[in-house]
């Protein structure tokens, strides 16, 4: 009985992030447009886009291999699994112990690995540019992310998201310098990972500045739909992660009774709204940076992470 309920909660979370993901993307766009005094597209525009892409035929480059066609599914699967492991409105997910935070990062890494390969598959120069820049960004973002995870893990004594979230809600957590450093670092990483301004501009197709879009340039139809969905999933994943780690209030922990579930859900939606708003605000207030400034940006994130970890290591003895 408990098992079935756990299954249900797990499934609900998975479906929730899947359905919310395009909406969240649309929400960020909308807020951005509003901040720029535009009206912006409708909130359900991404769903429409996805549906249209699904209906269209796939135009496949002649030099594309089987890997090119498999990659969207792999990327989607990896991202979705990662996203489903992040507690949104309830911790203690059924499969939460099957992967901890490090594994979630690694799953996202897998998705990126295959995306970069897909960028190279057709054998065009733009795909190469995209992949090349993507792996460069990742090579700094991943360690930065891991260092932040270290900090959190050292504070909470666990790499398990549920445990960390539970710890954060408890009184022990308090305000710590390491946490603040970690938060800033994580935000920077999240921006870089999701290809937001100032690292990349998700809305642009200007050849020489794009990263993510360059990789998926050859995709069309249902493949592109999956890629887009994965990108939205990744964005919501990071926001959920930030919410779960640094704003864990409202997450319902165990013994799910409907009222608390509803509270959790509402809190989660609130956090998403806040996160999206802040993201849009940030993006509209800053210009995109040159590609070769990115390492400095991410290097700073890595240093923050390392500093936070060091602080933890040093203070653990006291």
């Amino acid at each position: 009985m408990v098992l079935i309920r756990d299954f249900a909660v797990q499934g609900a979370q998975m479906l929730l992030v899947l359905t919310l993901a395009p909406l969240f993307t649309a929400y960020v766009r909308k807020v951005k447009a509003r901040l720029l005094r535009r009206r912006g597209p409708s909130l359900i525009q991404p769903y429409r886009d996805l549906a249209r892409l699904m209906r269209k035929e796939v135009v496949l480059a002649e030099s594309a291999s089987w890997l090119f066609r498999v990659c969207p599914y792999l990327i989607f699967a990896a991202t979705w699994v990662a996203a489903s492991l992040v507690p949104t409105f309830r911790t203690g997910l059924l499969f939460s112990w099957s992967a901890d935070l490090i594994a979630i990062i690694a799953l996202l890494g897998s998705a990126r690995f295959f995306l970069a390969l897909a960028g190279l598959d057709v054998g065009t120069s733009f795909g190469g540019i995209g992949s090349s820049r993507e792996v460069m960004i990742a090579s700094l973002a991943e360690p930065a992310m891991l260092m932040i995870v270290f900090t959190l893990a050292l504070i909470a004594g666990s790499t398990q998201l549920s445990t960390i979230a539970a710890f954060m809600t408890s009184a022990e957590a308090g305000l710590r310098v390491s946490l603040a450093l970690g938060l800033v670092g994580l935000i920077m990483v999240a921006i870089a990972e999701n290809g937001r301004i100032p690292i990349d501009n998700p809305a642009t197709h200007l050849e020489l500045t794009m990263v993510h879009e360059a990789m998926v340039l050859e995709y069309s139809g249902r493949h592109l739909a999956l890629i887009e969905l994965s990108a939205s999933l990744k964005l919501i994943l990071y926001v959920s992660l930030l919410a779960c780690l640094f704003l864990p209030w409202g997450i319902e922990s165990a013994g799910a009774s409907p009222p608390t579930l509803v509270i959790g859900l509402v809190a989660y939606l609130g956090k998403l709204a806040l996160g999206g708003f802040l993201l849009a605000l940030f993006e509209t207030s800053i210009a995109k940076m040159r590609v070769f400034r990115v390492p400095e940006f991410l290097g700073a994130a890595l240093m923050l992470g390392l500093l936070a970890t060091l602080l933890r290591f040093v203070s653990a003895s006291f």
Binding site: M54, F95, W97, V135, M136
Partner: protein
Amino acid sequence: MLTVILACAAALLALAAFAVVIVRYAAATPIIYGMTMIVTAISLAAAATPLFGAEPAAMRTLPLGLPWLGAHFRLDALSAFFLVVVDLGALCASLFALGYGTHEQAPQRVLPFYPAFLAGMTLVVIADDAFAFLFSWEFMSLSSWALVMAHHREPGNARAGYVYLTMASFGTLLLLLAFGLLAGPGGHYSFEQMRAAHPSAALGALALVLSLIGAGSKAGVVPLHVWLPLAHPAAPSHVSALMSGVMTKVAVYGFIRIAFELAGAPAWWWSMLVLALGGVTAVMGVLYALMQHDLKRLLAYHTVENIGIIFIGLGLALAFKTYAMPFAAALAFTAALLHVFNHSLFKSLLFFGAGAVLTATGERDMERLGGLIHRMPQTAFLVLVGCAAISALPPLNGFVSEWLTFQAILLSPQLPTWGLKLLVPAIGAMLALSAALAAACFVKAYGVTFLGRPRTGAAEAAKETDRFSLVAMIALSAFCLIVGIVPGVFIDALAPVSSSLIGAHMPPQIGAQWLSIVPIAASRSSYDGLLVFLFMVISGALAATAIHRLASDRLRRAPAWDCGYPDLSPVTQYTAASFAQPIRRVFGSLVFRAREYGEMPPPGDVRPASLKVEISDLIWDAVYAPIASGIGVAADRLNRLQFLTIRQFLSLVFGALVILLLVLAIWS
């Protein structure tokens, strides 16, 4: 079991001799590789049993080697584990070579040495006295040197062999010094006596440093790695696989044997030394690899990286052992050992893939390959598995061991030493960095080699490789997946090893829920490869079915879009060099003093633009070049003594006489 293994080693040696006899016949290749397969399979079975059934260590002394000592052999858990690594690698390599070996131009230069090399590695891990150990160790180097020299007429290979054997000899001599120290003036060379001797702190420390340099040079620890990327690619590919995947592990074995067992109680700085070396090795190895366009050399540099990861694990284990934290030590140690096993799997797999590419195209330079996924789909798939595994992507095996290493790092705040407290996070960052860079590197390697469009006619004309090679690669990729999804089984098999050296082992994993692994406690961290795998399969399948059910499945082939600039020439593709350019800019200018010289003709000028990249190997320049030139200068100076006149030679004698008489006069 030890008897069986010794018999197998003897059989391998006999095979080597037999190969000399039959090498002129065409059937020699299948016979020799077939026989080595059988022998290594038997040896593998014999070696695996002690890991799963806790048997006491078996010992045996043969009347060989040092006469008053005899050759001691011992099969304990550690030996058994490394023997499994050796034999599994050898088994797959032999299988691969059944197909690959038929393309060999000079089988007479490979067949006799191949079984000898295997025998050497087998004997190293079961040797139980210093003489037998170093004897087998150097024999292993020697036979692999002969294999490196198999294609001696290819440019660079002679130098590779030279640097290799010189460095190997250097390492052996240092190990010899270490053993000399541990054996004491009385010459107690058997490990039994050394274990009982409990060396003093200074002695143990010196032995540790010597063994770190000695075994480290064989394993490829930076800055002693220079021979590795030269020698490993020079050998035939199945041998490259063995050298990279297995022989470096034998070196790790040597280090473990000395550092954890023979050198006595560790001092606090031992682990710092090992950790620092490991961290530097990991990062430098992967950065070197990123700069490479030669497929096999890139793989060889990745071996350096992985050795770094293994040494990080070992360093952590030493640190925990120093401060009597047995469970943490067991975790770190198990992580290192598991990585040893994993690396032997995927590195062999990748070298086999490189070998298949080499046979199909005759090219090792990635810039002259491309699009092989169309011509060699099976190889491409299997190599992809290997690339994903070495890039530590879940749910494959590489991730498991790196995950365990991270978990061990997370335990280290409890270490009381300040130096370690500061070093370990930095090492963690380096580990993370190297893992991320490794993924970048394999995107490059795989993407440029297998994806895109063929860059040369050779790549276009490639054919799928033979069945034996494919079977070997399939077996290895299956292993990569199995270790990745049920790591608990393998961790449990390592328990006797870590109990024998650390005195503790990780909690049993088999009983854990859903076959997940729980290093310490479920609330702390856990990972379940099987579930992640199933999860991914199910969600991927779900997406695929949903899309194929609901969405259009029409598909049309068309020229690539490429933002509207399609250029049909494959030359316009991204090359390996251009792919690595951003990373080279970020790291290379510091680490390799990389400089780019670009020349762009002004518009209207029809000259081609040019870009030249200069990379200097600072380690070579700073360490090895001065040594080489120093020896050259000394040799030149001393060489004048060859051209003296008889009178001047007489003056030397006279001078010696006078000096000795003076010594005599002053002595009293």
